[in-house]
């Protein structure tokens, strides 16, 4: 299969528990996904992020954030997972919502939950958390619990953005 994708783009390829995956450079994501779409992977399953902060793995992931795109070919009944690693200091990547319309909300969710920026997204705003939330809850350094109940006395001083100047 890798011969059909631009070979320069694929950095690694493998099978894990019978799932096929490839890894590409962040700059190549749009080219890779368009190419895969042309090959029949027309059904966009999901896009999400994995935070590898302080991972116990012996083989360290190259960067902190890993983006995972899962695509499916409905005709040949096959799936492919595309991995991209993004650095901690600049988690930014080109948006693919114009290639796969279904990625629109997934990109917003990934921005909301992990703070990964998708350049070229028309409406990159929080989708699940309140608009004035500070931080990105699914990052591993975001604590579980500890926040007060909404509309309680100290809510205003807690995780609420300062009023616009």
């Amino acid at each position: 299969m890798s011969q059909q994708i631009p070979t320069t783009a694929v950095m690694a390829e493998g099978l894990i528990a019978r799932d096929h995956w490839i890894q590409v450079q962040p700059e190549q994501i749009r080219a890779t996904l368009s190419r895969l779409q042309a090959e029949g992977f027309t059904y966009f399953l999901f896009l999400t992020c994995v935070d590898h902060l302080a991972t116990p793995l012996l083989q360290q992931p190259p960067q902190r954030f890993e983006l995972v795109y899962q695509l499916r070919d409905l005709k040949q009944r096959r799936e492919i997972r595309v991995r991209v690693f993004l650095p901690e200091e600049r988690p930014e990547i080109a948006s693919v919502q114009d290639i796969f319309a279904a990625a629109n909300w997934d990109e917003r969710e990934t921005w909301d939950m992990f703070g990964v920026k998708f350049e070229g997204h028309p409406n990159l705003e929080r989708i699940l958390m309140p608009e004035d939330w500070i931080g990105h809850p699914l990052r591993r350094d975001f604590p579980v619990g500890g926040e007060p109940v909404d509309f309680s006395e100290d809510h205003e001083t807690w995780q609420t953005a300062p009023p616009p100047a």
């Binding site: 894990i16 799932d19 399953l45 999400t48 994995v50 989708i127 809850p137 699914l138």
Partner: protein, 421 residues
């Protein structure tokens, strides 16, 4: 007295709000458009939005010109909470996101964990999983049928639907002890074997269910009002269904023959003789027909599963993953050690990530888990059918009348707990 402003433009220049029943209306004037656009806030507390879906609708007269779903009102952080629980504890959270189909959510998670562990549930457990999945699909579809038809003014189907849901709840209670959040399907097998009473109740249920589906059909399928409210409404072309990754009855109602139970079989679904329900009407009525047919097919699968229920254990025989049976603890030191290790530490999964999808009543319910080799998930993500199907609402509703929006939301069959997770 001559009015200097032309008719229809007499509203004040600034935004004006009125408080109607259950909705706030904000009137704004857009320049350069034919006629005024009225922006209406719809929900989140609205009886016909199936929970807490909020829509911001731009209306031109009664025609929808813009639609923006606003979600997140039921966000409970299930994915974050799962990272703090051990692999075997996290099952209880999977029950709760799509609260109309807990066993199917359990199944997606259990299959993902088993796939990464490289184990497979024993044959009897697989058939019990199929039985619970199909019962859940039936109960989810009857709730859908009841609530959606109630929103369009058909009261009786709601009563009939909840009558059958009650029977499925009783079956859940009999086999797992819980009526709703069963946590019945777990990595390695199921919670407990089916009791003889459960099998009797199931047999009776399968016998009477086809007649109940006939009753629903008598009420709705040829009902002129139901047809007028759903036929030709909420058109979704097949290419748009794929583009927006719609799944389940949304996809099959648009004429695409894709059902994970047949196209990517799991839990032995390939052994049953049944048909995928496909309709090419592409509208709300087609989605209704798909769900009705799916109910009949589910009954077929249930009959075959019940008749072919093989004997044997319902859990894998691996002491590193599942605790030993109670009686072994009294005689075996090793069993005590295994029990202690599992209760205090749990088991670890080999590093890696897998994606497993199962067909729920709403569509593709996927579970993507990442393990870093420890006893807790590094990341667990649910690809929920409701989230993706709600994204397609704009495509479905633009250009239709505001009253048809109710039919469109209804046949999208979103569970907001599943949308927001």
């Amino acid at each position: 007295m001559a009015d200097s402003t032309p008719a229809g433009l007499s509203a004040p220049a600034g935004p004006m709000t009125e408080h109607g029943q259950g909705m706030t209306i904000q009137r704004t004037r857009l320049q350069g458009r034919d006629g005024d656009l009225l922006t209406v806030n719809f929900g989140p507390q609205h009886p016909s939005t199936h929970g807490v879906l909020r829509l911001i609708v731009d209306l031109e007269g009664e025609v929808i010109r813009g639609l923006k779903p606003v979600i997140g009102y039921l966000h409970t952080g299930i994915e974050k909470q799962m990272e703090a629980l051990r692999w075997q504890q996290a099952v209880v959270l999977t029950d709760r996101h799509d609260y109309l189909s807990p066993p199917i959510n359990n199944l997606a998670y259990a299959l993902a964990v088993e796939k990464l562990l490289g184990v497979e549930a024993p044959p009897r457990a697989q058939v019990l999983r199929v039985i619970m999945s199909e019962l859940t699909r039936l109960s989810s579809h009857v709730v859908w049928l009841g609530t959606s038809s109630l929103e369009l003014g058909a009261m009786s189907a709601f009563m009939y639907g909840f009558r059958e849901r009650e029977k499925v709840m009783d079956l859940n209670e009999e086999i797992s002890g819980f009526r709703m959040h069963t946590s019945y399907i777990r990595p390695g097998g199921v919670f407990a074997d089916a009791t003889p009473r459960f099998l009797e109740m199931l047999d009776a249920f399968i016998r009477e269910m086809p007649r109940n589906v006939d009753e629903y059909e008598n009420l709705l399928t040829h009902n002129p009002i139901w047809i007028a409210r759903t036929k030709g409404i909420g058109h979704l072309r097949p290419e748009d269904a794929i583009r927006l990754a719609a799944s389940g009855p949304m996809l099959r109602g648009s004429g695409i023959n894709w059902d994970l139970r047949q196209d990517r079989p799991y839990s032995g679904y390939d052994k049953y003789d049944w048909e995928v329900a496909v309709e090419d009407g592409c509208d709300c009525y087609a989605r209704y027909l798909v769900r009705i047919k799916e109910m009949r097919e589910s009954v077929k699968i249930l009959r075959q599963a019940l008749d072919g229920l093989p004997p044997g254990p319902v859990n894998i025989d691996d002491r590193k993953i599942l605790p030993p049976p109670r009686e072994e603890l009294e005689t075996s030191m090793e069993a005590v050690i295994h029990h202690f290790k599992l209760a205090t530490e749990g088991y670890s999964l080999p590093p890696g990530d897998v994606y497993v999808a199962v067909e729920s009543g709403r569509g593709e319910n996927g579970c993507y888990i990442v393990s870093d080799g420890t006893h807790k998930p590094r990341r667990a993500k649910f690809r929920s059918a409701s989230f993706v199907n709600i994204q397609a609402l704009e495509q479905l509703a633009l250009g239709s009348m505001v009253a048809d929006l109710i039919a469109v939301i209804g046949t999208a069959d979103a569970v907001l707990g599943d949308v927001d997770r």
